[in-house]
């Protein structure tokens, strides 16, 4: 892997505690030039703390935190990043154009205002006061603020929360354009679909650690389960009786089966019912993979705690 050689931001064994709560427990993370890394994990997994470290908002208790080879608390490092945070109440009385000009003034060579507005799709909002915008429009303005400085690395923390489908699509296409320009993105999101659509690599966190890192396909492959759907006369009780069937349930007339060995189960299904129709076999989505991974991590952590006690 050439990741280490082009790493522009990294956490190495980062530890951060708040009183008795350990938010990060030896977190490792590397972001390469021009890639989109999705940071996933349930609430309280440590995503926000990891980002806060990389932005220089807080200091690690132990471990290394680097942004472009420097301490993120140095302003020179942060001149190369753009930021969209989950909840920032921007000055309500300032107009969108004024906010953009103000934020652009912090950067050495920002984008022209018109280009920023066009990229974020907020061209017609420039003269409006920020407080008068809808929630989705405010998110779009925050995206514009994040990209106005021509960043090499963009931090997007739950960027599409509160956006409608249309706004979300616009944001995704803006992100794709930025990546095409060579900008790297660190994305945290609750929408696994978003990670699936955009990410080169996915990093899953639980209990302050990275429990999986790899491509979206690698993450899916971690979970051996597949889903079978069909309409069949075979009774659900009979299907449940077969070995290899992890779970079976009826959704209307459609039977949903989860299994690790799809081929065998399909053979059984076809053998039992020649009239079977609408057969579908699917690999588990990112959502299932994610749920399974974090559940495993929960179990490990629970065992650890029992042992410790």
């Amino acid at each position: 892997m050439s990741l280490t050689t082009t790493s522009i931001a990294r956490l190495d064994g980062a530890i951060k505690t708040y009183g008795r709560l350990t938010a990060l427990d030896g977190a490792n993370l590397q972001i390469g030039r021009g890639e989109l890394l999705a940071l996933l994990g349930p609430n309280g997994a440590g995503k926000t703390t990891a980002i806060a470290l990389l932005l220089g908002l807080i200091r690690a208790d132990a471990g290394t935190v680097e942004l472009f080879g420097r301490d993120p608390q140095q302003i020179e490092a942060r001149r190369r990043i753009g930021v969209m945070l989950q909840n920032a109440v921007l000055p309500p009385t300032l107009r969108v154009g004024e906010l953009l000009r103000l934020t652009a003034s912090y950067y050495p060579s920002p984008r022209p205002l018109a280009e920023t507005a066009e990229l974020a799709g907020i061209g017609e909002l420039l003269k409006r006061p920020y407080a008068k915008l809808s929630g989705g429009q405010q998110r779009s303005v925050q995206l514009a603020l994040a990209l106005c400085g021509r960043p090499e690395l963009l931090f997007l923390d739950e960027p599409t929360v509160g956006m409608d489908v249309d706004a979300r699509q616009k944001l995704w296409s803006a992100i794709r354009r930025l990546i095409a320009e060579g900008c790297a993105v660190l994305l945290t999101t609750h929408y696994l679909e978003e990670a699936e659509v955009l990410a080169d690599r996915v990093c899953v966190m639980a209990h302050g650690r990275m429990i999986h890192e790899g491509t979206v396909d690698e993450l899916r492959a971690r979970v051996a389960l597949k889903r079978i759907r069909c309409v069949t006369g075979t009774s659900i009780e009979k299907v449940r009786g077969w070995p290899d069937v992890a779970e079976a349930r009826l959704d209307g007339e459609r039977l949903h089966i989860t299994t690790a060995d799809a081929e065998t189960v399909v053979r059984h299904l076809l053998g039992a019912d020649a009239q079977l129709r609408e057969l579908e076999v699917q690999r588990a989505g990112l959502a299932e993979a994610f749920t399974e991974l974090t559940r495993d991590a929960d179990e490990v952590s629970a065992t650890d705690q029992r042992e410790a006690a």
Binding site: R78, A88, P91, L94, Y106, E152
Partner: protein
């Protein structure tokens, strides 16, 4: 690791002096514009001392003549400039910490001093308005100030707001959001009373007179008295105390900001 260094060397993110200055300017401008468009925040802070002076310094001392009004012009001037310092600075900082704006700005490459400088300028402007308002009202009580005295009082107010900015900033870093205004009231009103801004110090109990010098407002009052020609003592000790007070709280506050955000 060498390659990380090569990434750095390939694209320096240096910023010209002119652009850094521009960032300071943009921040100060943004700060002023946003509060001018939201007068509900600053207007009470600026008008409250004027109203106080009008009632207690102008209308109620008519019988005691222009000297009492002159005395009260100085002390209400100090009372007045404390307010934009403590509240304009402290409350807005506490609210912005609460709302996440400060976090956002700290993540951005905003020059660290620009945010504070913007708020400072805002507080200094508000202090100037307070003093000008009081000077106008003092005409009603026939206080005759030389132009140099009026100018000195204005300067005292505009610079005198700074130690209270530092104190407000510190309070703003300790209390978040809505907790700050109450705490600031708890400091503002007793401190004003105890340093003789409402009633002359000699009217207070002996013990309170003795501890008055621990309040920064006591020292600013001495300078304001000198500005209107009612104090001939040397001013340097008072200036130094205020300076030390400002620097001390500024350091405490920036330390807290850096550690806890």
């Amino acid at each position: 690791m060498e390659t990380v260094i090569s990434v750095l060397a390939s694209e320096p993110a240096s910023m010209s002096r002119g652009r850094v200055f521009g960032a300071y300017l943009a921040e100060a401008r943004g700060e002023c514009v946003r509060y001018m468009r939201a007068p509900a925040f600053m207007l009470p802070i600026m008008l409250f001392p004027g109203l106080f002076y009008l009632v207690f310094g102008v209308l109620m001392v008519k019988s005691e003549g222009a000297d009492a009004a002159r005395y009260l012009l100085a002390s209400y001037g100090v009372f007045g400039v404390m307010s934009p310092g403590l509240f304009g600075f402290g409350v807005s900082l506490a609210l912005e910490r609460d709302g996440g704006l400060l976090t956002f700005k700290r993540a951005l490459p905003m020059p660290p001093g620009a945010y504070l400088l913007g708020k400072m300028l805002m507080a200094m402007c508000a202090a100037a308005v307070v003093i000008l308002l009081l000077l106008a009202l003092s005409r009603l009580a026939h206080v005759a100030l030389l132009p140099t005295q009026a100018g000195a009082l204005l300067l005292t107010g505009v610079l005198g707001v700074l130690p209270f900015c530092a104190l407000g900033m510190f309070i703003g870093t300790v209390f978040k959001g809505q907790g700050a205004p109450g705490m600031l009231q708890l400091i503002y009103l007793p401190m004003s009373f105890l340093s003789g801004l409402w009633f002359p110090l000699p009217m207070l109990p002996k013990f309170l007179q003795q501890i008055a010098p621990i309040w920064p407002s006591y020292h600013l009052d001495k300078i304001a008295m000198a500005a209107v020609g009612l104090n001939n003592e040397p001013l340097l000790p008072h200036v130094l105390v205020l300076l030390g007070f400002a620097v001390g709280f500024l350091l405490l506050a920036t330390r807290r900001l850096r550690r806890y955000g």
